[in-house]
Amino acid sequence: MEQMTPPQTAELAPEKPRSGPWAWCRENLFAGDTWGPIAFNAFLTVAFVLIVLNLMGFVTTYLFAAERRWAAVTYNMKLLMVQAFPQDDLIRIWVSIGIFAVLVVWSLASWEFGGQISVEKMAQGVRAAFVLVFLTGIMHHGEGAASFGLPFLRFDNPADWSSIRTWIELASLAGAVAAHFFAQAAHRRESEQTVPILVVPVLGMALVTLALWTVWLPVPEGQFDETTARIATTTARPWTILFGVTILAYFVGIFLHRQRPKLMRRVLISAWILSYPIIIFVIQRDPILDWADILGFGETPFLSSDLGTLLIFGILGSVVIWVVGLPPNRAVTGATVGILGVIVGLMSFAFGDGPLWSTVLMAAIGLALVAAAITIHEPVEMVRAAGAGLAMLALIIWFVPMPFVYRTFMVALALALLSAPVFGGTEQGRANLVRAWIPISFLIVAAFLLGGSDTSLEFQSTTFLGGFNLTILLAISGLALSLPAGLVLALARTSSLPIFRLLATGYIELVRSIPMITWLFFGSAMLTAFLPSGVEFDEIVRVVAAIAIFNSAYVAENIRGGLQAINKGQYEAARAVGLSVVQSTSLVILPQAIRTVIPALVGSIIIAFKDTSLVAIIGLADVLLIARNFVPQQSDPNFQGTLTQMMFFMALFYWVFTFTISRLALRYEKSIGLGER
C-alpha cells in the first residue's frame, strides 16, 4: 500500500469525504437510501439504542446489586480452575501454564507473527468502550453493592454505591473525551501511526496483573479475619512472575530466531508435540503417585516397573522395526521372524495362564512365517510378507492373557511393522519410524499410568484432575486422537476401494447422526462392558475415547471437503510422475487438502472446546459442573443460591476463550492468504 501521495496528483485527488461525528451519524444511522426512507432508519436506530441501553442497564443493575456475592467466584477460583489439586502442589499447574506460554511466545517469535495496529483505531476502540460504560451507567438503576475497592479508595458500605457510580461516570466520560481527542490527533497526522499488534495483549496482561495486586473484594464471613482481601491472594505472585518470564522469553525467542531460524522451528514443533504428554503425565500427574515404584527402585522389580516396561518395549520395538525396514535381505528377515516368534512364545509362556491352544497357534504361525520367508524368492516380497506376518502375530497376542499394557504395546508394534515396509525404503524413513516409536512407547506407558489399570503399578485414580484443567485436558486429548483418526476416515471415505468406503461412510454417518451426549453415556456407562473382563479404564480415559469417537467423524467430514476440492489433475499428475499411492497422497494431495480446510478444522477445534462442557452432564467435575453444582450447593452459606451469577460468570468465561481463539484463527487465515487462491 502506498501511503504517500505524490504532490502533483494531490490537487486532482477527489474531495475528502466529510468526516466528524455528525456526518458519520447522518450516513450510518439516519440515512435514507435503498434500504428504506429516513424515517424508517431513524426509527430503527432510536428503537435499538433504547433496547440495548435498557438491556445493559438491567444487566448491570442485576450484576452490581447488593445481594450479589461475587466473592463466590473469586473465592472459589482455585476450585473452578483445578478442583481438588493439592494446594502445596499448585506450582505444577503454574509450571504447565509457563511451558505453554513460553511455547506460544517462542512460536510467535519464530514464525514472525506480527502486524501493526493503527493508533487511531486503538483510540477509537477505547473511546467506544468508555462511551458504552458511560451510557450503561446512566441506565443503571437501583442500589448497588460496594463490592470492590482499591487500596486508596475503599467502599465497605453499600450506601457508598451512588458515589462510586458518580466516580465511574465521571471517569468514563473523561476517558471517552481524552480518547476522542487522541484519535482526532492521530487522524490529523500526515502518516498513519502504528504499533505492533502484540502490544494489545501485553497491555491486557499488564492490566490484569495490576488488578491482581490492587483490587480488593469483601471476604465471605468466617473465612479470614479481615473483611476485605485482594481478589487473588495466591495468584498474584505466580501470575506476575509468569508475566515477566513470558515477556523475557519472547525476546530470547527473537534472539534465537535470528541465530538459527530453521533449527528453532524444528525444535519448537517437537516441543509442542512433547509438551502434551510431559505436562499431562509428568508435571501434572497424581501428586500421591510414588516415583520410586515408577522408576523401578521401589518394591516392584525393575523389569515390571513402568520404566522397565518402557525400556523393554522401546528398545525391543525399535530394533524390530529397524530390521524390518532394512533393505531386503533374506537372512536377516528370517532371523528376525524366528527371534520374534521365540520371544512371543516365551512371553505367552511367562505371562499366559490362558489356554494352551494360543501358544500352539502362535508357534505354528511363527513356523509358517519362517517357512514362507525362506520359500519366497523375491527379497522385496519377502520383507513385506514378513512384516505383515509379524504384524498378524503381534495382533494375535492381544488375546493372550497378560497385562493389558503389553497387549496394547503389541498392537502398536503391529501397526508400526505394517507401515515399516512402506516407509522403510530409505534410510531417512526408517530412522523416522524408529524415532516415532520411542514417544509412542512413552505415551502408552504414561497413559496406563494415568488412566489405565493392570500395569505393574497399582492403579491410581484421576480424581486430582478437575476444573478448567480437566476441560483443557479433554479438549486437547480428544483432538489429538480425533485428528489422525479423522484423516484416516476421510481417506477411506474418498478412496476407490468400495468396502473401505462403505465402512468409513457407515461409521461417519452413524456417529454423526447421534448426539454427543449419548456417546458420552456410552463412554462412561457402557464402554467397560466391551473390554476383556478385569480391564477397567478410568472414567476420564473412557470419556476421552467417546469424545474421540464423536469428533473424528466431524473432522473426517471437514477433511473430506478439502480432498474433494482438489483437482483430479493433481492425482493424475502425481501418478504420472511415478509416485506410489502413499507418496502421492502424503506429498501431493494431503498438503493441499489440509490447507484448504484449515478454517473448517479451526471451527471443529472450537466446537470441540465448547463440547467438553457436556461432560458436566455425566458428572465429571469440569469447570461448568463446579460452577453450577459445587459452588451454589456447597454447605458454606456464603455461596448458597449464587447459581445465577455463577452462570453469568461461566458464560463470560467461555465466551472470552472461544472468541479469542476464533479471532486468532481469523487473523492467521488472513495472514497466510487463505481464500485468496
Binding site: 442485576y62 447421534i514 451426549i517 453415556f521 476464533s662
Partner: protein, 517 residues
C-alpha cells in the same frame, strides 16, 4: 523404486502382484477382521453383562417402569416403550418449534447484518458473536438459572387466568387446545392445502399463457381460507374415514401372518431389483453398455445377495422369530407389524360427532393446597426445562442460521439486486422476489445441517430435566441397568430423525437444482 526386470516380461502378473487381487484380498480381509472383532466384542459384552447379573434384554420395553415423567402426553407411562415414546414426542415437539423459531430469527438476523444502518448491523453482529461463542449447555443452564433465580414466585393471590404467567414453575401462555374434533379437522386442512396448491399452479399457468395478473397467491390463500373456516363447521364429514380404517383394521387382523411375511420378502426383492435396474440404467449411455468394473460387480452382487437373503429371512419366518427373540415375548402382541392396532386406533378417532376442533384458552393458576400451580388444562404451561432448552437451542441455532443467511445473500451477485431496483422494485420487493429465492439455493445445504444440529442439541435438555428421549432413556437405565439396549434405541431413533431431516433437505435441494438447469 522398482528395478528393471530382466528376461521376458510375463503377460500377466503373478497372483500376489495382481492389483485387483491385492485390492480385494486386503478389503475382504479387513472386513472379515472387523466382523470378527465385532463378534469378539459382542461375546465379551454378553459375558460381562451376564457376570454382572443384568443380561442384555429388551424386556423393560414391555414392563411397568415405576417412574413418573416431568412432562409429555402421558406423565405416568405404563411401560418402558410408552415412556420412551413420550420422550420421543417431547423431542420432536421441541425440535419442531425450535426449527421454526430459529429459522425466522436467523433470517432476520442475517438480513440485519447486511443493513446499512450501523446500529442494526452492529447489534446483529454482536448477537452472532455472543451466542455462537458460548457453549450451548452453558446457555441452557443460564436460562434455567434465570428462570429459577430471577422470575418472581407464584403467590396464592394470583389465582385466576391471565394472558401470561412467568415464574420459577415455568412460563404459561395462551394456547389453542385441540379437542376431539381435531382429527377430522386435520384431514380437511390437508385437503385444503392440496387444493390450494393445485389452484396456485392453475393460476400461474393462466398467467404464463395469457400474460395477465392472476393473483395466484391471493387465490390460493382464499381457497385455503375456505377450507380453514368451512372445515371448522363441516369437519364431521371426515368421519367417513372411520369406516375405511375399520375395514383396514379388519383386513390387517384377519390376514394370516404368512401374507405379511411374503409382503416384506417381496418388498426386499423388489428393492434389490430396483437398485440393480437403476444402476444398470446409469451405466448405459447412447454409445452402449459401459464395461463393468470389479466395483460394479461388487455392488450389483451385494444388492442381489442382500435382497435374496432378506427374502428368505422374512419368508422362512426367521424374521419374526428374530424380532420375538430380540424384543422379548412381552412385545409379541404387536405382531402383524402393528397394522391392526394402528388402524383400530385411527378408527376410534374418526366418527361423525361434531364439536369444535380447537379451543382457545388462557393460562390459569390454581391453588389446590396452599401451593399455587398452573392448571394443566388451561393455556400452555411450559416447564422451566422446556423453556430453557427451547430458548437455548433456538437462540444458538439462530446465530448460525444468521451467518448462513448472510453468506447466502452475499452469494447472490450484486447485479441481481441492482437489476431489480432498475426494474423499479422496492428494496423489500427485490429482497423477497429476487435475492432471497436465489440465496435459498446456496443456503439450503448448510441450513439442513443446522436443523440436524438443532435436533441433536435438544438432547442437552437432560441437564435441565427436560423429559426428552435421552433423559427418559437415562432414567430407564438407571432404573433397570439396561444400558446397551437403551443406547441402541437412541441410535435407532436419532438415525431415523437424521435420515428424515436430510431426506427432506435433499428433496428440496434436488428441486432447486432442477430449477437452475
Amino acid at each position: 523404486m522398482s528395478k528393471p526386470t530382466e528376461g521376458p516380461v510375463p503377460t500377466r502378473p503373478p497372483l500376489w502382484r495382481n492389483i485387483v487381487v491385492i485390492k480385494w484380498v486386503a478389503q475382504l480381509g479387513s472386513l472379515i477382521a472387523l466382523v470378527w472383532l465385532a463378534y469378539v466384542l459382542i461375546t465379551q459384552a454378553t459375558a460381562n453383562l451376564r457376570a454382572t447379573g443384568i443380561p442384555f434384554s429388551w424386556d423393560f420395553l414391555g414392563e411397568p417402569l415405576g417412574v413418573k415423567l416431568s412432562e409429555g402426553f402421558n406423565t405416568d407411562p405404563e411401560s418402558g416403550l410408552e415412556a420412551l415414546s413420550v420422550g420421543m414426542v417431547n423431542m420432536i415437539r421441541i425440535t419442531w418449534s425450535g426449527v421454526v423459531a430459529a429459522t425466522v430469527l436467523g433470517t432476520i438476523i442475517g438480513i440485519a447484518r447486511l443493513s446499512s444502518n450501523w446500529i442494526v448491523s452492529r447489534i446483529a453482529n454482536s448477537y452472532i458473536e455472543f451466542f455462537r461463542n458460548i457453549p450451548l449447555l452453558v446457555q441452557i443452564l443460564f436460562w434455567q438459572a434465570l428462570i429459577i433465580g430471577v422470575l418472581p414466585d407464584l403467590t396464592p393471590d394470583m389465582e385466576g387466568s391471565r394472558w401470561l404467567f412467568a415464574s420459577p414453575k415455568g412460563i404459561a401462555i395462551p394456547w389453542l387446545i385441540p379437542q376431539a374434533g381435531r382429527w377430522q379437522y386435520m384431514v380437511l386442512l390437508a385437503v385444503g392445502v392440496v387444493v390450494a396448491r393445485w389452484t396456485y399452479k392453475k393460476r400461474i399457468e393462466i398467467l404464463e399463457r395469457e400474460g395477465r395478473e392472476t393473483h395466484a397467491f391471493g387465490w390460493a390463500t382464499g381457497v385455503f381460507l375456505v377450507f380453514l373456516i368451512g372445515g371448522w363447521f363441516a369437519h364431521p364429514i371426515a368421519g367417513v374415514l372411520g369406516w375405511l380404517f375399520q375395514a383396514l383394521a379388519w383386513v390387517a387382523g384377519n390376514l394370516p401372518v404368512i401374507s405379511f411375511q411374503w409382503l416384506m420378502g417381496g418388498l426386499s426383492l423388489a428393492l434389490a431389483a430396483w437398485f440393480i435396474v437403476r444402476y444398470m440404467r446409469k451405466l448405459r449411455s447412447p454409445a452402449g453398455m459401459a464395461k463393468l468394473t470389479d466395483d460394479d460387480y461388487f455392488r450389483l452382487g451385494v444388492a442381489g445377495f442382500l435382497g435374496i437373503v432378506l427374502f428368505f429371512f422374512f419368508v422362512s419366518g426367521a424374521g419374526e422369530a428374530t424380532i420375538i427373540r430380540v424384543m422379548g415375548r412381552s412385545l409379541t402382541y404387536k405382531m402383524n407389524w402393528g397394522f391392526e392396532p394402528l388402524f383400530n386406533f385411527l378408527a376410534t378417532k374418526y366418527d361423525f360427532s361434531g364439536g369444535s376442533p380447537l379451543r382457545f384458552s388462557l393460562p390459569e393458576v390454581e391453588v389446590p393446597t396452599n401451593f399455587p400451580r398452573y392448571a394443566s388444562d388451561a393455556g400452555n404451561s411450559m416447564t422451566p426445562g422446556f423453556v430453557a432448552t427451547w430458548l437455548g437451542v433456538t437462540l444458538y441455532a439462530a446465530a448460525f442460521i444468521g451467518e448462513i443467511v448472510r453468506a447466502g445473500i452475499m452469494a447472490v451477485h450484486r447485479g441481481q439486486s441492482e437489476a431489480a431496483s432498475a426494474l423499479g422494485l422496492h428494496r423489500a420487493q427485490s429482497l423477497r422476489l429476487v435475492v432471497l429465492p436465489q440465496a435459498f439455493r446456496v443456503v439450503l445445504p448448510p441450513l439442513g445441517s443446522q436443523y440436524l444440529n438443532l435436533a441433536k442439541n435438544t438432547s442437552l435438555g437432560i441437564a435441565v430435566a427436560y423429559a426428552d428421549v435421552v433423559q427418559v432413556g437415562q432414567t430407564i437405565f438407571n432404573q433397570e441397568g439396561q444400558t446397551l439396549p437403551v443406547f441402541i434405541f437412541w441410535m435407532a431413533f436419532y438415525s431415523s430423525v437424521s435420515l428424515f431431516l436430510s431426506g427432506i433437505v435433499n428433496y428440496y435441494n434436488r428441486r432447486m437444482e432442477l430449477v437452475e438447469r
